[in-house]
């Protein structure tokens, strides 16, 4: 008898029985559990029990005055009765449809199955006032499932990485989490070479290799991607923090106040960042309405950026 059939039959037998089933009774019923010595049969049964537990199918041993043996804990195993209202169903369908349409979404199969369990069709998103779409870049999307596996199993990932400035290097990272932000998938984790937390864009990775086995590390207590990322990209750990001074026209200051805090009376914000490139992008997106005033290396970076962009448009280096 193959293992799949044996496990299914085991579930069936335990579910059908009104009384706990002893291991002796199982030995009699299943040829696979007979013949060898007791210890090896017990080990085989324990392996089967563990395999079922991994799937959420819980076998419990009962030993009281009246009964002894194994039962299938139906309460812990099977989906309880539940009801989703029309609005819940529509919201879930809207969210699921957006996730399923996102290149790289790592749990596509599981999501389809889960929706079917809930009796929700992802096409059932007829809600008047809301639509959602994530639209991820296709480059790097093929890495996301492997990265997600590394995150779930706490494994290391090795890959060649091209930084924004073009420099490439081998990286080895403890995979703490992955996230999709503004159309790009990122891995966040402990970079061994730098001995620090770093963020890596999936589209800049080449052939990530996930180590086998695991778990290989502990995720720092309290770590949560959402909370870590709730901080602006200004706080992403790209370099040591610096404080930059930026003047912004008060008329459009509302665009950056949430990220930068309050300006002083002259319209100057003091922004602490460990990701100067992002700050430069933010400042330049405000055009003539903003000016990065200090430190000098930040101004130099603005000038370098502008010159490179101009050269690409005039000389065609793009």
């Amino acid at each position: 008898m193959k293992r799949l059939e044996r496990l299914l039959d085991l579930v069936h037998v335990l579910q059908s029985s009104r009384e706990p089933v002893t291991l002796s009774a199982l030995k009699e019923a299943f040829a696979d559990y007979s013949g060898a010595n007791d210890e090896s049969i017990r080990r085989k049964f324990e392996r089967d029990k563990a395999a079922l537990a991994d799937l959420g199918i819980v076998l419990r041993y009962i030993d009281d005055e009246e009964r002894t043996g194994y039962v299938l804990d139906t309460e812990a195993t099977y989906l309880p009765e539940f009801e989703l209202g029309e609005e819940d169903r529509a919201l879930l369908a809207t969210a699921a449809q957006a996730a399923l349409a996102t290149p790289g979404f790592p749990h596509r199969r599981a999501l389809r199955l889960a929706l079917a369990k809930l009796g929700t069709d992802p096409a059932d998103d007829e809600r008047a006032l809301l639509r959602v779409g994530h639209r991820a870049e296709k480059a790097g999307a093929e890495h996301v499932e492997a990265l997600s596996e590394a995150v779930a199993e706490r494994r290391k990932v090795r890959f060649r990485y091209r930084r924004a400035d073009g420099e490439t290097a081998e990286r080895e990272v403890d995979a703490y989490g992955i996230f999709l932000r503004e159309g790009a998938w990122y891995l966040i984790g402990h970079d061994h070479a730098r001995d620090a937390m770093r963020v890596f864009r999936a589209s800049r990775m080449t052939t990530p290799e996930v180590s086998s086995g695991g778990p290989h590390f502990e995720v720092p207590e309290g770590f949560s991607v959402a909370e870590y990322r709730a901080a602006s990209p200004l706080r992403w750990s790209v370099h040591e923090p610096v404080v930059a001074e930026v003047w912004v026209d008060p008329e459009v200051a509302f665009l950056v106040e949430r990220d930068w805090g309050e300006a002083d009376g002259d319209g100057v914000f003091r922004v602490e960042t460990s990701n100067l490139d992002f700050l430069v992008d933010q400042v330049l997106s405000l055009g003539r309405r903003a000016e990065l005033r200090s430190p000098p290396e930040a101004r130099a970076r603005v000038v370098d950026t502008l010159r490179a962009v101009l050269a690409a448009h005039e000389g065609g280096t793009a």
Binding site: K2, L55, L91, A99, G177, S285
Partner: protein
């Protein structure tokens, strides 16, 4: 990796799911839900066709069979419910809902939070023990810079079918203007919220400097929100598309996102350039020259 857990999961889902449909379920539907090929489905059905007690009679078997392109099941009152959510299913559902939990219009956020909690309560013991931890680490993030007060007012306007008076910054023209908008719906794209107006115009919510409720509208605007979402995702690749060269390749960008295009091109730091139309290229060059003059012309 062994196929065993996957096949078991599929089987334990398959039997109650099919049993709920008196006329069976089409092979195509099962292929889609189970992410499985027709051949794999046939093999699975063959392997699990006669599940039951090894020494039991035929009436105790779970019989599952394929007939006329549909899968049917005959079962002796067993396997009537699917298993609770496993880790992956729970993480998948929580990840899908996550962008609606943060920075969302209040009632949407509340509903998404409530749903997430209910889903967590439907997970297996093992999934509940480790799923939340993993769920927190696999995320689709919505972290636009919308202010909660603005989202709240817009949602109220939509529910009460009222117009809004708004101060809005048009990034492409660098212009702050006051306008009256008849809201048709809210769309979330790439983690940011957009208001769709009755004339199908789109407004990035974080660019509203202020929003106030206006008068009631006689009827709700008739706008295809799905079309609006698609246009936002594609950045409106209409006739006015901008062509951007990156390396040897040229991409089309929607003219609707002129400021966004320029921002993206700047962020490439010389690795990308707008090539056409000439007006878009000239606007980029003019903007960059003006900024260079400011930064090189004087010390602050």
């Amino acid at each position: 990796m062994s196929r065993l857990p996957q096949d078991l999961t599929r089987f334990l889902f398959l039997v109650p799911y099919v049993a709920q449909h008196r006329n069976g379920v089409t092979v195509r539907e099962l292929e889609e839900i189970l992410s499985i090929s027709r051949k794999e489905l046939a093999t699975l059905l063959e392997r699990v066709a006669m599940v039951g007690a090894p020494d039991g009679g035929p009436d105790e078997l779970v019989e599952i069979f394929l007939e006329g392109g549909r899968v049917h099941v005959a079962l002796p009152q067993r396997f009537t419910r699917p298993p609770r959510f496993d880790v992956r299913e729970m993480v998948a559902l929580l990840a899908a809902l996550a962008p609606l939990r943060a920075n969302a219009p209040p009632s949407i956020g509340e509903r998404a939070n409530g749903l997430s909690e209910r889903i967590a309560a439907l997970a297996s013991e093992r999934a509940a023990a480790i799923g939340k931890d993993v769920g927190d680490r696999v995320q689709i993030l919505a972290d636009g810079a919308e202010r909660p007060g603005v989202l709240h007012t817009l949602e109220t306007a939509l529910r009460e079918q009222r117009a809004v008076e708004a101060e809005y910054w048009t990034a492409g023209r660098d212009e702050l203007s006051t306008r009256r908008i008849e809201p048709a719906g809210l769309v979330q794209v790439r983690g940011a919220w957009y208001l769709i107006g009755g004339d199908a115009k789109t407004f990035k919510v974080e660019r509203f400097r202020s929003v106030a409720l206006g008068e009631a509208m006689a009827e709700a605007p008739d706008v295809d929100l799905e079309e609006a979402r698609r246009r936002l995702e594609e950045l409106d690749l209409g006739d006015g598309a901008v062509h951007v060269k990156v390396g040897e390749r040229t991409f089309r960008w929607g003219s609707g996102g002129a400021a966004g295009t320029r921002r993206w091109v700047r962020a490439q730091r010389g690795r990308a350039a707008i090539v056409s139309p000439p007006a878009a290229k000239a606007a980029m060059v003019d903007e960059v020259r003006a900024l260079l003059e400011r930064y090189e012309g004087h010390e602050p």
